[in-house]
Each structure stands twice: as C-alpha cells, then as structure tokens.
C-alpha cells in the first residue's frame, strides 16, 4: 500500500527553535489519521509542511508519493482556524474553489451548502464559527482531493457543531474514499472518527499505528509492586505508577502477558495517548535534569 504521508528525518526550525525535529513517519492510504499531541507539539508545523505551506529545514516530506507542492491539486487543506475571506460571500467562495481547482465538483459543493443551510449571499465574515468551518471543509472536499488535511478543525466549535462537523466529515470520507489526516489536542474528538493514530509530543513522533493494533498491543497491568525493569524483554513500559504495595503499568507488547501476578485490562485510546504524553513529559524532565 502506498503512503499518503511519508516523512524522513523531517525538521523545521523557526529562528533558533525547532518546531518539529527528526520526524520520521509513514501513513498508509485509506485511513482517517488522528494527529494528536499537546499544544505546541508541532502538529500545525507538520501539517503545514505536508500542505506545502512550509519548506523543511531538514529531511524530506512526500505526500501522495511526491513533494507537496507538486500534489496541491490532490490535497484538500483546511488550515487552523478555518480561514475564509471575510468580505466574500458564500457563493463567492464556491466560485473561488471552482476557478482555482480544475477538479472542482460544483454539484457536491452546492448540495453541501444547501444541506448545511448556508445562505449563498451571506458574507463569510458574518458566519458563525461552525458555519465557517463547514464552508472551509466544503472548499476542501469539493476539490475532490485524494488526501484531506485538517488542522484542528473542531477546536473552536461548540460540542454540537463539533459533532455535526465530524459527522459531515465522515460522510464525505465514506462517499469519496479519501484519506484524511486531522489534528487535535483532544483525544475524544478523534476517538469517534480515526482508525489510525499518530502521537506527537515535544516535536517528536512518540507512537504511530492503526488504532485497533495500538489497542491490541497495549495493556494495563496491575499487581503487587515491582520494579518495571524486571519485566520480560518483549514488554516495554510506557507509563508506570506505584503505590506502596501496588504497581500499575501501561506496557506495549506484541506477545500475550502470561505472568499470573498481573491483572491485565484493556486500554482505551485516551489512556494510551496520555501515557505517551506523560512519558514524553517525564523524558523531557529527565533530560533537563541531566543538563543541570
């Protein structure tokens, strides 16, 4: 299967600060990929690099098998905060899409606008946040892209608009069979729609893979207190918490956990993401201590 997104040693530096460092990532086609990480993790930088809006400082990024700028016609891009032209009407935006994209699906765009009950004559500056996001999504989808990149598409929406937006997104995905990469700092947004997860913390990719595979290979172990270093070789501890008597570990392993001392329970996506985030945070702290 070809990769929709392939990054090798990708890095982007702004003046002296690295917004993204040494990012190596391959996302196969046909997935709805959730890119999750705390604010400032480098999600927007990664997506802007994928959309050709930034040039890498180091490494390479390929989208749909080529450099992003050569794939613009096949990428639907919804930038952070869903920018639209405040002075142009909804109808103007559809004309904008039609004039700037040879593959423009006017019927799809019109029917989406009708279904969303947007007034074509209304200026985009007077739309609500949810309507604006929907208009921007319409522009991205009606381009008939093979890959849809959405940067925090629901961050500014209220819960109802959020659900409607994601529903619209899933319908568009089902109808067109496209690949999607969307970012969020909230796992709950992604849980419902994503089947592939990339966790980005501190400008580095911590884990990436299909959601079901991630859930199947991560386990929550609880049992009598013990040192995490004494676990079998195949088990990698992602996060650990201890009380006086008990240890709770989130481990990654492809083999079944056989030790009868453990009570094994399944993890959900939120546990998993939080574990990787706290691991990164702890790693960062250790790193700081060493420097001191």
């Amino acid at each position: 299967m070809t990769a929709v997104l392939e990054a090798r040693g990708l890095g982007k530096r702004y003046r002296r600060m690295w917004a993204l460092a040494d990012c190596t990532l391959s996302v196969p086609a046909g997935h709805v990929v959730g890119l999750v990480g705390p604010n400032g993790a480098g999600k927007t930088t990664l997506l802007n690099l994928a959309g050709g809006l930034l040039a890498p400082t180091t490494g390479t990024i390929e989208v749909l098998g080529g450099p992003p700028l050569a794939r613009l016609a096949r990428i639907g891009f919804l930038a952070q905060h869903a920018p639209v032209y405040a002075g142009l009407s909804v109808a103007d935006h559809l004309a904008f899409g039609a004039h700037l994209n040879p593959g423009w699906d006017a019927g799809l765009a019109r029917s989406r606008i009708e279904r969303l009950d947007l007034d074509p004559g209304q200026r985009a500056g007077t739309l609500s946040g949810g309507q604006r996001a929907q208009l921007a999504l319409t522009l991205a989808v009606a381009k008939r892209p093979d890959l849809l990149i959405l940067d925090e598409p629901v961050a500014s929406l209220d819960p109802l608009a959020r659900r409607e937006f994601l529903q619209e997104l899933m319908e568009a995905v089902a109808g067109q069979g496209l690949s999607v990469v969307l970012s969020s700092h909230l796992v709950s947004d992604l849980e419902r729609v994503c089947d592939y997860l990339v966790v980005l913390v501190g400008s580095r990719v911590r884990v990436a893979g299909p959601v079901d595979e991630l859930l199947a290979t991560h386990h929550l172990l609880s049992g009598p207190r013990r040192d995490p270093d004494t676990l079998p070789a195949g088990q990698r501890v992602i996060s650990a918490s201890h009380t006086d008597r008990q240890s709770t570990l989130l481990v990654h392993t492809i083999d079944p956990v056989l030790d009868p001392a453990w009570t094994v329970s399944e993890v959900d996506l939120e546990d998993l993401v939080l574990a990787y985030m706290s691991q990164a945070a702890a790693g960062g702290r250790r790193h700081l201590e060493v420097q001191r």
Binding site: F77, A79, Q80, Y85, A86, L88, D92
Partner: protein
C-alpha cells in the same frame, strides 16, 4: 486566478475609475476655456522676441483664474497616485492575506503560489501603470497650452514650469509608468517581508518618498553627463545677481537665452580665463556699491566676466525620461523577482 484577482481588487478598481472620472470632469470643465485663452493670446504663429512677452502675458493671465490651482492639483495628484497605489494596492496584497490567515486558503488550491503571485502582480501592476498614466495624459492634454507658452520663453507668476522642473518631469511623459510599477511592487515586497499591512504601508511610503526626493536632486542630473558652457552675461535670460559692499558678488542663471527649456544644474561667474570668481574687478567695485543691478552687470561683462553653466539641454528630455523610467522598471522587476523567490520557497 484572473477571476479571484478581479473579485478581490474590484473595490479598488472602481475607486480608481471614480477618481479618474472626477479628475476628467474637472479638466473638461476648465480645459476648453484655457485653450481659447491660449488661442487668443497670439502666441501661435508668432515670430521673434515678442513671443516671450506674449507667452508671459498669457501665463500671468492664468493667475487671475483658477487655472494655476487646477494645474497644481493635477500635478500633485499625479505625484501622489503612485504612492497611494503602493500603499493601498501593494502593501496589503500579501500582508492582508497573511494577517487574516487566508494565504493558507489561497495557497493550498490547485494553482501554484508562483501563478497566484504572477497573475496578481501582472494584473494589478498593469492597472497601477494604466491609472497613473491616464492621470498624466489627461493633465498633459489640459496643460498643453501652458507647456507651449513656457516653451516660447514665457515665465509664469508662480512657478516657471519648464519641462525639466522636478514637478513637471515627474508627472509627464513616461516617468509615471515607472513610478507606479515600482511603488506597487515596493508595497507588495514590504508586505511580504513585514507580513503586516499597516507597518508595510508605512515602510512603503517612507522608501518611496525618499526615492522621489532623491531622484531629482541626486540621480536625474547625473543620468547623462551634463553639458558645460560659458556664456556672456547678456546670454542669460533669467539672471539672479547679488553682491555686498565689499565687491563680493554672485551670479546664478535661471535660463539660457535661446534655450528656455534647458535644465540648468549649476551656474556661476568665471573670469576670462574660465576660473570661478566671486570678487568684482577693482574697476567695477564702485558700480557694485552704488549702482543698480544692470549697471553693475554691464561693468562686469565689459571686464570679461562670463557665466559658466552646467545644464541638460532640452533635446535630452526624452532620453532622460526613458532612462529614469527604465531604472524604476528595473528596480520593480528586481523586487518582483525577490517576491517570487521569497514566496516560492520561504513563506508560510
């Protein structure tokens, strides 16, 4: 892309068209009467030295009416139009998109960023040049009688507007084309670099104004090596002379007889050997102290004092127009090239 450029630019385009129309009405209301005054002045077809008086009479006659006001308004408009275009068309073109985040929308459509910039620069740049030149041509049509009167050696009551005067040179011929193109692209470039519209506008204004002041003062006089000549005092048709009681004097030429359109760059008194002098010969000191200008000048002339003049002859007018316009267009092209490079690979 042409559609988008027009859609985003149409308010500015309509504003420019309205301003042009208003200016045209002003000129159309006053132009015919100005032309009839000129026809009645008898300058046309006159021969010899009397022309100068007829021309001056005509120019003084204009002072009574509103013509000088209209003339100056026209010249000021043509001077300011390129700056206004740079500020309001150029500076916000990219900066406003970046400020509102819409550059991420515009630059992720199927067309390349280079194409986006190329179409915008070409269409709006051509509009800038067309609008500015339209103002200039209309004003040139209106002011043609004044130009002809000045060409006949007439001097006006307020300003002697020979075609080389900074205000006339910069507002007629083809120089407005160069200024408009340059100011527009200067604004775009400032927007690309500063990424915020208002500061970009301020920088555009500062740089353009500085260049517009520097050009007539330090650049234009040196585009071609000036001619040098030394003439007798009576060959200066517009002379300024002052002296003190110690016999120190200064002569400056305003215009050369027979070459009323020549652009005098510098002038000063020289002795028969061609060396600059500021002290009158002993024989003339008394005339300087007692006498009025003419007798002092006669004395100086009879003692071999001449006037050295550096100037650009009127025949070089179009060569200078073309050269200066070419320089501004070259600067505009260089800035445009920089914008393409910068937007093509660096900006987000």
């Amino acid at each position: 892309m042409i559609w988008l450029t027009w859609r985003q630019f149409r308010v500015q385009a309509i504003t420019a068209a309205a301003a042009l129309a208003a200016f045209a009405v002003l000129l159309a209301l006053t132009g015919p009467h100005l032309a009839s005054l000129y026809a009645a002045s008898g300058i046309n077809g006159c021969q010899g030295t009397g022309c100068e008086h007829l021309a001056s009479n005509f120019l003084y006659q204009l002072q009574a009416g509103t013509y000088w006001v209209v003339y100056l308004i026209g010249v000021m408009i043509i001077l300011f139009v390129p700056a206004v275009i740079g500020l309001f068309w150029g500076a916000p073109m990219v900066a406003r998109e970046i400020e509102t985040g819409t550059h991420h929308l515009a630059w992720t459509q199927s067309i390349s960023r280079t194409q986006w910039l190329a179409v915008k620069l070409a269409l709006i740049g051509l509009a800038a040049m067309a609008v500015t030149e339209a103002f200039s041509l209309m004003q040139g049509w209106w002011a043609a009688p004044i130009g002809r009167a000045v060409g006949h050696g007439g001097s006006g009551p307020l300003i002697a507007m020979i075609q080389f005067s900074p205000l006339v040179f910069a507002t007629h011929g083809i120089t407005p084309l160069g200024y408009a193109a340059f100011a527009f692209i200067l604004g775009v470039t400032a927007g690309v670099l500063i990424r915020r519209a208002i500061p970009a506008m301020a920088v555009t204004l500062a740089i353009f104004a500085a260049l517009q002041i520097a050009t007539p003062l330090w650049i234009r006089p040196h585009l071609f090596p000036p001619d040098r000549t030394s003439v007798t005092i009576d060959a200066i048709s517009d002379i300024s002379f002052n002296n003190n009681t110690q016999g120190v004097f200064r002569i400056a030429a305003g215009a050369l007889a027979g070459q009323p359109d020549a652009w005098i760059l510098s002038s000063g008194a020289v002795n028969a050997a061609g060396q600059p002098v500021s002290m009158a010969p002993e024989a003339c000191k008394q005339a300087l102290i007692n006498g009025s200008g003419p007798s002092a000048l006669d004395c100086l002339a009879s003692h071999g004092i001449r006037v050295a003049v550096t100037y650009q002859p009127a025949s070089r007018y179009w060569a200078l127009e073309w050269t200066e316009t070419a320089i501004y267009l070259a600067l505009a092209s260089a800035l445009a090239g920089y914008c393409f490079w910068r937007l093509g690979r660096r900006l987000s």
